[in-house]
């Protein structure tokens, strides 16, 4: 082993961390990569083995456990992948002990964990792309409010793995009574759930105005001063094709060609980055610490404001980061290391501009509604099938059982990532073929979305974005940056978005 090679310790065991491991391993500095994970991810283990690193199994939300590993391995850089270890203060602890860490301290990761904090920060600092909301401590009060509010999104006040968000759309008045009574029941159920499960929250539930539009994700890397944006990626939260069915952590993604997607303009991309930059500044001024790590915005192009922030992630998005595997030209290690050591100023990221990337997640049937059905199935993989197609397989919700066999954990099992220089449809077709490279030995069915990357879906996005653009452009041209409501008996109410 050459002693000059940089040593990286990666925290986490999902498909996101597998992607990060591969991105780091592909850096010209040829780092040695070790990982500390909650469950055994064979993909990360393979990267560790190839680069001369090793893997540790430990509870990654325990600061002491992770610190023990870090002290033993003595890395030059620690990269924290998932949000829960960040919420638990892993980054704080390691920094205190003198490690160079990529990932924000818990006070800053609160931007993801605490939805009420995130929204109120946006209003306090006049950050563009914000939505009206109301937060509740009392389930009953929340329920009463939802009954009269209408056309809302209900979110648990605490980040809960992408689930628990429900939309109560009222595109038509004839459905309003119905939608409101369901929303009202749901909001109190969510509030009770958060109350029972988490003791670390001020508020229990958030009721937010619903907006329509095209969703996309902008991920950035920052050292608290400089911000480097990654290319726009689109996630697909619905579990089934045609954007149908319950919400998931993401069933796939598309990215490319170059910095943005065909339905998001350069200008909209820049404005989205600006929202994140302003958030980083606001956090600095309120918390008094620099944000070091990844900060991502799950955005929506809405008819009201154009780029609008739906949620923050204090990390890279999953599956969004996977798309970077075939887009990145720069050294990923240098990017993360310069951010972690607060030397990001002047950094220039380069990417490939001739690639279309499609990511498809594969999950055992049962996900996400009944994870028990999806759990415990033996996993088989033929990597040759995937690699011959020029694609990459990322392991996600897998673990070793007591006999050492690979089994499903009940979440998204794996991701297939395929590039193409011909277009999304070609990349999607290859991903469809590559999916044959993973199956469950007991015959339990796997689900995935064959429509990701299809022309039909892309055309729908383009049309939706065009409608949103017509509407928000008119608002801007006329300088209409406020919303007025008139409530009989109460008079005119103005919500200023300037």
């Amino acid at each position: 082993m050459r002693p000059s090679l940089p040593r990286v310790l990666l925290v986490g065991s999902g498909a996101r961390e597998h992607a990060i491991a591969l991105l780091l391993a592909g850096s010209p500095e040829e780092p040695e990569i070790a990982a500390v994970m909650d469950h055994f991810n064979p993909g990360i283990a393979e990267v560790a083995e190839k680069t001369g690193g090793r893997v540790y199994l430990a509870k990654t939300t325990s600061a002491d456990s992770v610190l023990l590993v870090a002290e033993e391995y003595s890395p030059d850089l620690v990269v924290v992948g998932p949000e829960e270890p960040l919420f638990a203060g892993i980054a704080n602890k390691l920094r205190e002990k003198g490690f160079t860490v990529f990932g924000p301290d818990k006070e800053l990761a609160r931007i993801e964990k605490d939805k009420v904090f995130a929204r109120s920060l946006m209003w306090r600092h006049g950050i563009p792309g914000r939505l009206r909301y109301k937060a509740f401590r009392d389930p009953e009060e929340a329920s009463k409010y939802a009954r009269v509010a209408g056309d809302v999104v209900v979110k648990p006040a605490r980040q809960a793995g992408g689930s628990g968000v429900r939309i109560f759309a009222e595109p038509y008045e004839h459905l309003s009574k119905l939608a409101r009574s369901v929303a009202s029941e749901y909001v109190s159920a969510v509030a009770e759930k958060v109350k029972a499960k988490y003791s670390d929250m001020d508020y229990l539930v958030l009721v937010e105005e619903r907006v329509d539009g095209v969703e996309y994700t902008v991920m950035t890397v920052t050292d608290g001063d400089s911000v480097v944006a990654l290319p726009v990626v689109q996630d697909h939260p619905h579990v089934y094709p045609f954007d149908i069915g319950p919400e998931t952590g993401g069933m796939g993604a598309i990215a490319g060609p170059c910095w943005t997607l065909p339905f998001i303009t350069e200008e909209e991309y820049s404005e989205s980055i600006e929202i994140i930059r302003k958030t980083i500044d606001a956090l600095r001024s309120e918390i008094g610490k620099p944000y070091v790590g990844a900060l991502s915005g799950q955005m929506m192009l809405t008819g009201f404001w154009g780029p609008t922030l739906i949620e923050y992630y204090s990390r890279f998005g999953d599956p969004e980061i996977s798309a970077l595997l075939f887009l990145l030209e720069s050294s990923f290690l240098e990017l993360l290391d310069r951010a972690a050591s607060r030397r990001l100023a002047g950094y220039k990221l380069s990417i490939k501009c001739d690639q279309y990337v499609v990511v498809k997640a594969v999950a055992p049937s049962g996900y996400p509604l009944e994870r028990a059905r999806a759990r415990g199935h033996p996993v088989a993989v033929d990597k040759d099938i995937v690699e011959k197609l020029g694609c990459e397989l990322l392991y996600g919700g897998v673990d070793k059982n007591s006999t050492g066999d690979l089994v499903s954990t009940g979440s998204r099992l794996a991701e297939i990532v395929c590039p193409s220089d011909k277009g999304f449809e070609d990349a999607s077709k290859r991903a469809e073929k590559a999916i044959a490279g993973i199956w469950l030995r007991d015959g339990h069915p796997l689900i995935h979305r064959w429509d990701i990357g299809s022309r039909v879906l892309l055309e729908q996005r383009v049309a939706m974005a065009r409608r949103a653009r017509i509407s928000y452009t008119r608002r801007r041209e006329k300088g209409l940056m406020a919303i007025y409501d008139w409530v009989p008996g109460q008079g005119l109410v103005k919500y200023n978005y300037e």
Binding site: I167, H174, L175, Y240, I244, G245, P246, S365, L369, Q460
Partner: protein, 402 residues
């Protein structure tokens, strides 16, 4: 003459309340709905007149069809119960039985490739929560799929009912294509097939606020109105649509002729399709006078073009023309029919006209004109309608038309 599927993924949700609006969005297609609602305690099956006071029972999934062409059948096997509804002349009992006994994928494959289902569209629900929605390989009936937030999957013959249930249309099934699934999956089967959607859907059946196979019904009708005007050799001062369902055609007609479009009539009955009403001849005539009360003054000493969206016996039109001549002083009355000549009953059951009552089947245009007492008469040229739809990927069935 229409199908609906409303499927909620959380079983504590009440699909019946949403499906109610879906059926309302299909009721212009007929006077009777058959339905099955699936809840935690099994199926409730029933039928109703959606033009009366009615409602649906509670449950997380609903299938419904507009009878008489949509027929419902049930089957039971090993404790599993299936309710199927097929629109068209295909064996609904067989489909229910197959679905009770077999794997969902096999049922879907049989539906899209089997000759006995080739003309039809079908939806079915099984007591374990499995569903299927598909079109036979040359299905005359369209079927669109939609979603409602993270909550539900919808399917309907046209897109307006999907929107009325709060959803968004997402995909139009082709011929030989079906989707099937349950709470844990959504899959698709597709065999080579064609969109042989009936031209009657575009001309008459569907709502103008719907898309059928991705084609805007309104845009089709307005364009056909334009085409009619271009071939109609008549000098007119005023254009009116009869009944109000003909107004999209009348708009296109007036635009191409550069003449004024007027609201010629006011209905006392609302938007009722008298041609589909199960009533006697006397009752139909009574309905007509209530439905088509002329606006005074706009016909006086004018040459009028009446754009009508279908002529079966010609009785409606004859009554209207007589009234305009006798009571309203119309100088000339020219007739533009925005459908091709209907000359036979549809063997796929898309329309159920009595062949012996089809004026275009028995009389020449000249004689039809004489019967109507019209100054001129044109029908929508079939080739124009077909050309328009072909350009949009639909190969319409025109078997009953000339």
């Amino acid at each position: 003459m229409g199908l609906l599927l409303t499927y909620f993924y959380e079983i504590d949700q009440d699909a019946g309340k949403y499906a109610y609006y879906g059926v309302m969005g299909l009721r212009h297609r007929g006077y009777r709905v058959v339905y099955a609602v699936l809840g935690p305690n099994g199926f409730e099956i029933g039928e109703a007149n959606p033009w009366s006071e009615w409602g649906l029972p509670s449950g997380y999934a609903v299938i419904a069809g507009i009878s008489p062409t949509a027929r419902l059948a049930t089957s039971r096997h090993n404790g599993r119960r299936v309710v199927a509804i097929i629109d068209g002349p295909c064996p609904v009992e067989k489909l229910a039985e197959t679905m009770a006994k077999n794997d969902l994928r096999d049922v879907a494959e049989e539906l899209v490739s089997g000759d006995e289902y080739r003309w039809c569209a079908a939806i079915a629900l099984r007591s374990d929560g499995a569903f299927i929605a598909g079109r036979g390989k040359e299905s005359r009936r369209p079927l669109s799929i939609g979603g409602y937030g993270f909550e539900a999957l919808y399917a309907a013959t046209e897109t307006a009912p999907i929107i009325l249930m709060g959803g968004s249309p997402r995909y139009d099934l082709g011929g030989g294509e079906a989707v099937y699934g349950d709470r844990y999956s959504l899959d698709r089967v597709h065999v080579p097939g064609r969109r042989r959607t009936s031209l009657f859907e575009y001309v008459y059946l569907a709502r103008p606020d719907s898309l059928v196979d991705g084609v805007s019904v309104y845009a089709f009708r307005r364009e056909m109105g334009r085409q009619l005007a271009l071939i109609h050799d008549a000098d007119v001062d005023v254009v009116v649509g009869v009944p109000e369902t003909a107004i999209p055609y009348a708009i296109g007609y007036a635009e191409a002729k550069h003449v004024r479009l007027e609201q010629g009539f006011v209905s006392t009955l609302g938007r009722v399709r008298t041609a589909l009403a199960p009533v006697s001849l006397e009752e139909r005539l009574m309905m007509l006078s209530l439905k088509l009360n002329p606006v005074p003054g706009i016909f006086e000493d004018k040459s009028i073009a009446i754009v009508d969206d279908s002529v079966v016996t010609g009785l409606t039109l004859k009554t209207v023309i007589q009234r305009l001549r006798r009571l309203h002083g119309a100088r000339e009355v020219h007739v533009a029919v925005s459908s091709p000549r209907i000359i036979s009953r549809c063997r796929f059951g898309v329309q159920l006209v009595d062949e012996s009552s089809l004026i275009a089947r028995y009389l020449s245009d000249e004689d039809v004109s004489r019967v109507l007492d019209a100054d001129s008469l044109v029908w929508l040229p079939l080739r124009e309608a077909v050309r328009f739809l072909r350009e949009h990927g639909v190969e319409p069935c025109t078997e009953c038309m000339r």
